[in-house]
């Protein structure tokens, strides 16, 4: 019966009401304010810890690795002649997945003198980083590639956000191009030595230490699986096997991008 249900609560309600009324109003206000502060703090904490909006995919790599052509192919499918970029280019990209999500594709210049400043500018907004490698002349450039990759992997902002790292082994249409597996092995070997030399590097003159982060696990050889962020190796060819008029061979890249 209703009355029975209410009855057990009623005396409690009565006593509570009486107690509240007995209390000093100032004290009551204090309690309410404290509760409000706690609620607001929890609210803010929830909002602040959620990741800042990252909706950009960066195209990085050494000079002449094919980033701008890849940019053009992914966005419009056309072949465009390209020159060395000296500024970034950005455009919205529609992913080929069911959700149809769009994010911004940003093509950064690869030249040595411009690389640091553009990376600095865009790294916090990165949701995924496509690291473009020239597979044909990889053997000659392996140390520069590894050094750039090391800088990326040890960057504090990137380590915090852990975007997806896609290593796109470009220029597969050239016969001498190395496969993605080989490139992965070589990079692992090179990064193995690099992390030792970099952490032994001199500290800066104002006291900040240069090589702070040690990649991977100590004692074991470096492997990409040891990293906190996901690293994938894909093969692609921005020029395409048929030359300028044919389509580009970027399907695996687009598939990986669609998974984002």
């Amino acid at each position: 019966m209703e009355k029975d249900a209410n009855n057990p609560f009623e005396p409690y309600m009565e006593t509570l009401r009486q107690q509240l009324e007995d209390q000093d109003p100032v004290f009551l206000i204090g309690i309410i304010v404290a509760l409000a502060v706690v609620v607001i703090t929890l609210f803010l904490k929830y909002f602040l810890t959620s990741k800042t909006v990252c909706s950009a995919v960066l195209l990085v790599g050494l000079c002449d690795s094919g980033k701008t052509l890849l940019f053009s192919r992914l966005l419009s499918g056309n072949y465009k002649r390209t020159q060395t970029s000296i500024t970034d280019s950005s455009a919205p990209y529609k992913a080929k997945n069911d959700k149809g999500s769009t994010w911004t594709l940003i093509d950064l210049p690869g030249h040595d003198s411009l690389r640091p400043q553009y990376l600095e500018k865009f790294k916090s907004a990165a949701r995924a980083i496509v690291f473009v490698v020239d597979s044909a002349i990889f053997q000659k450039e392996v140390r520069d590639v590894a050094e750039f990759l090391y800088v990326l992997l040890t960057d504090t902002v990137i380590c915090r956000n852990t975007p997806l790292l896609l290593v796109a082994c470009n220029k597969q249409d050239i016969t001498m191009a190395k496969s993605a597996k080989l490139i992965q092995q070589q990079l692992e070997k090179e990064l193995n030595t690099l992390r030792v030399t970099r952490s032994a590097a001199l500290s800066s003159q104002d006291g900040s230490v240069g090589g702070s982060l040690f990649l991977g696990k100590k004692g074991k050889d470096f492997e990409f699986s040891q990293l906190p962020m996901k690293v994938e190796f894909v093969e692609c060819s921005a020029r395409g096997s048929k030359g300028e008029d044919g389509a580009a061979d970027t399907e695996s890249l687009e598939l990986s991008l669609a998974k984002l």
């Binding site: 002449d64 701008t68 940019f71 053009s72 966005l75 419009s76 056309n78 465009k80 002649r81 390209t82 020159q83 060395t84 970029s85 000296i86 500024t87 970034d88 280019s89 950005s90 455009a91 919205p92 093509d107 210049p109 030249h111 040595d112 003198s113 411009l114 640091p116 400043q117 140390r143 520069d144 050094e147 030595t193 690099l194 030399t197 970099r198 032994a200 590097a201 001199l202 500290s203 800066s204 003159q205 104002d206 900040s208 240069g210």
Partner: protein
Amino acid sequence: MLDFFTIFSKGGIVLWCFQGAGVTESFTGPVNALIRSVILQERSGNNSYTHEALSLKYKLDNEFELIFVVGFQKILTLTYVDKFIDDVQLHFRDRYKNELEQKGSLKLLNNSFEFGNEFKMLLREAEASGKAKSPAPMRSFKESEKSQKTVKSMIETKGGDKGKEQSGKKNKNTKKDAPAAEAAKGDQVKAPPTVQKVTVENGNQGLTADEIMLKKREEFFRKHMAAPPEKTSSKSPKPQKPREKPRRVWDISGKSGKSTKTLDYSDSRNGEDSTNEGEPNQDVFFDQVSAVGLCLFSSKKAGGFGGMFGMLKGLVGSKNLTQADMEPVLDKMRDHLIGTSSAKGISDQMSSYVCLAVASTVKQALQDSLVQILQPKRRVDILRDVMDAQIQRRPFVITFCGVNGVGKSTNLAKISFWLIENGFTVLIAACDTFRAGAVEQLRTHQRRLNSLHPPEKHGGRPVVQLYEKGYGKDAAGIAMEAIAYARNQSFDVVLVDTAGRMQDNAPLMTALAKLIAVNMPDLVLFVGEALVGNEAVDQLVKFNQALADHSMSDKPRLIDGIVLTKFDTIDDKVGAAISMTYITGQPIVFVGTGQTYNDLRSLNARAVVSALMKA
């Protein structure tokens, strides 16, 4: 005549290109070389560049972020190219204004820019105008001045007339004095002003100078047609007073053209004057900034000044920001504020606030540019290079050079300590055979280092050894022997210490160049002290020059890196770092901050620049 012409965006997408008939090679390579060496280095004064057999001229369009490049054979000297590029740029911009104005690169990718017909037309025009420099036709006697004169005027009269006439006729080649011609009206008896002979400075200006010539000739004929009727009226020329020399206007002192009247700020322009004086620091900073070169920052928008000053946006927009641009803007803003009857004090404060806001933008841009200069252009990882040399079973040779007393031997010891800490064996070559005590100094360092890292802990072999041959011997020979010894005994690193020498001392510079050319070290480090100031530029330039001159090969070994020493003696006067890096383009590899073995650091570009900008 042209080999190619390209228009591409700064992001690297080629919008339109043209390849001349019969040209088979792709132009991508030369244009990339142009971009890398000129545009990115930001050091060029002129806008041309040569690459193998091609000569390239370029033009930047900062508003739409485009680059126009034209290439032609170096042996041809085409005079119309500069004007041609300007014309093409204007036409292209006008035609594709809408597409180019859009943000984002999608439009650039999706559009195909059809420009071929217009380009051909412009090219034809330019070539035609280039050819139309036919020599000036000779005047017939009827047209010349002599036929116009009456016989009477040529008769000698009292006064200095005839003398003036004769001298005037003789001075056919003097420059036309335009103000004087205007001042002496009706004075055509006097030496007729001759056509100004415009000295063509270089082929590029030939076209415009011709236009000047044509214009002047027209003026002259015009004046001359008016002259004869006047002449017949005055039968006897009066004695003319001597032609006054026009007052010279010196452009250098103060502002050109402004007389003392305009410099009198006592009445209405009071506000401006006081504002200018109120922030002397600001103006001095502006001068410094503009001296560094505001053109380093292309397309720096000065920020919309807010809704109230929207009209000023058109003035500033997104051009290169120069001080000349700033002044009219600030003046106009002040006038506008005063015109809207805001108090004068407030308008002064607002203009100073704008000054500050622009100054902070400029400061940020300057900071970014300085950091970019100081960033190493290539990897600076000596340990990695030493490891590479280890794998190849050869020693890694580092040579230290510099002027007297900068700290070569001390920093050599510090670097060898660092290398030993990382497990390498070092051979020190004492190639300073001149200074008394140099060899003993290095021997003392060797003993100390060996006691810090005893041989027992490193496989029974001393980690540091000294290779010396006493004093007075040839340094290059000692270096060569030391390297051979290191190879035999499989040392990892050889550090070669040379004697200090002034950059003006030619025989010593030759000796150093010979040492480096003969031994081909892996790394040539220039040791410079941080206190040096303007001397640094001179030292580095002369050292590099000497190394380049005396090397036999076509790829001479130049300075590869800089060691900046005595960094602890300066507080914030770190400008030497900037000037050294800028002159050579090479990175600062080590920074010495004291005299013990631990006082070796690497350079933190951001910290140095912030210390520099704190002033």
